[in-house]
């Protein structure tokens, strides 16, 4: 897998973001990559944002990815 960077632009929406798989070997210390991971996770969980049932798994994934909890 390439180590290609995926810089965010001002006009980029969540659906333009790279897929999670493309981000897995990214530098976890990079703030940009961490932000992308967070936004990507939010996109995957967008149907469950108001549901307490989605929060547990979303929090789990955030900790697993090493990013802040939603």
């Amino acid at each position: 897998m390439s180590k290609q960077k995926h810089p965010l632009t001002r006009n980029q929406t969540a659906t333009d973001l790279p897929l999670q798989n493309d981000l897995q070997d990214a530098n976890p210390e990079s703030p940009v990559q961490r932000q992308q991971q967070k936004e990507h996770l939010s996109r995957l969980f967008r149907q469950l944002e108001q549901s307490p049932d989605g929060l547990y798994l979303q929090g789990l994934m955030a900790r697993y990815r090493g990013i802040d909890e939603p």
Binding site: F45, Q47, L48, D53, L57, L60
Partner: protein, 280 residues
């Protein structure tokens, strides 16, 4: 109207080609202690097309064998009967539906998700000291009802996908809104017709259950594996959404956070290698 009645679905299911009888025997043997391996191996070997496809999967890079296996007996000797049983089932399912897809359906994310869910279910089952191979099979098959819709109700399923895109909802909600029934119920009907083990049928029927009450371990494992693999984004489907999963289910699984992280990590690693099988 795009609604589909269960009777129509059943009629289409009855018209689908049957799985090879040896595959049904293999699936029945999942719950059996005393398995007649030699007899089953001979039956598999008698189906040349199925054998060829199984050996192609066995020889894919996922299994990392230094020498090619050329017969079912060799595959069993090297990979073990349980692995070969899973390979034969996978080969038969790929064959049953592969020629019937329509242009509007992207099969790759479907099979990627099925395979990822199978691997994750197996990992969860290992953590829970449950039957890992049965979990793998149920995970692999959990969305099989979707293939019935895609192949047998093509125009209506295209309308379902259009609804999903328009409303940015999950496919389950789109199916209910457009068709009036969903792939979990259809998957149950299909696997019941094919006489799959009852535990696998139930896991398929209940994989979108919104309650964990009364669910047996296998069903709980498949619900969790489905949600986890969506959350890990292994299908690489840009429209993907994590489905609803009730908090009680995690309590029922009873796994510590570290154990779950091990499952996530192991699923991702195995999936990267296993997904090559799909293109073998």
């Amino acid at each position: 109207m795009n609604t589909v009645k269960l009777d129509e679905v059943l009629q289409k299911i009855y018209n689908l080609p049957s799985l090879p009888s040896v595959v049904l025997e293999l699936l029945e043997s999942i719950d059996q202690e005393d398995i007649k391996v030699d007899s089953l191996a001979k039956k598999i070997a008698q189906d040349q097309a199925l054998t060829a496809k199984t050996l192609r999967l066995a020889n894919s890079s996922f299994y990392g064998m230094s020498n090619q296996v050329n017969t079912i007996h060799e595959a069993i000797a090297i990979l073990g009967f349980r692995t070969v049983r899973t390979l034969v089932t996978t080969a038969a399912l790929l064959d049953t539906f592969s020629g019937r897809m329509h242009a509007g359906f992207n099969a790759a994310p479907f099979w990627r998700h099925a395979l990822a869910t199978a691997i994750c279910a197996r990992e969860l089952a290992v953590q829970l000291n449950s039957n890992p191979e049965r979990a793998y099979t149920a995970g692999l098959l959990h969305d099989i009802g979707r293939l019935v819709l895609v192949t047998q109700f093509q125009a209506k399923y295209l309308a379902t996908m259009a609804y999903r895109d328009q409303h940015d909802c999950g496919l389950l909600d789109a199916e209910k809104a457009v068709l009036g029934l969903d792939h979990a119920a259809i998957g149950h009907a299909l696997t019941n017709h094919w006489k799959f083990p009852a535990s696998v049928q139930l896991a398929i029927a209940s994989h979108h259950s919104t309650t964990s009450m009364g669910l047996p371990t296998l069903s709980t494992v498949v619900v969790a594996a489905d949600a986890i693999t969506h959350a890990l984004d292994l299908s690489r489907d840009k429209n993907d959404l994590v489905p609803h999963i009730c908090t009680g289910l995690w309590k029922q699984l009873g796994l510590e956070e570290k154990a779950l992280f091990d499952v996530f990590s192991s699923t991702e690693k195995q999936f990267q290698a296993a997904s090559l099988v799909l293109t073998a």
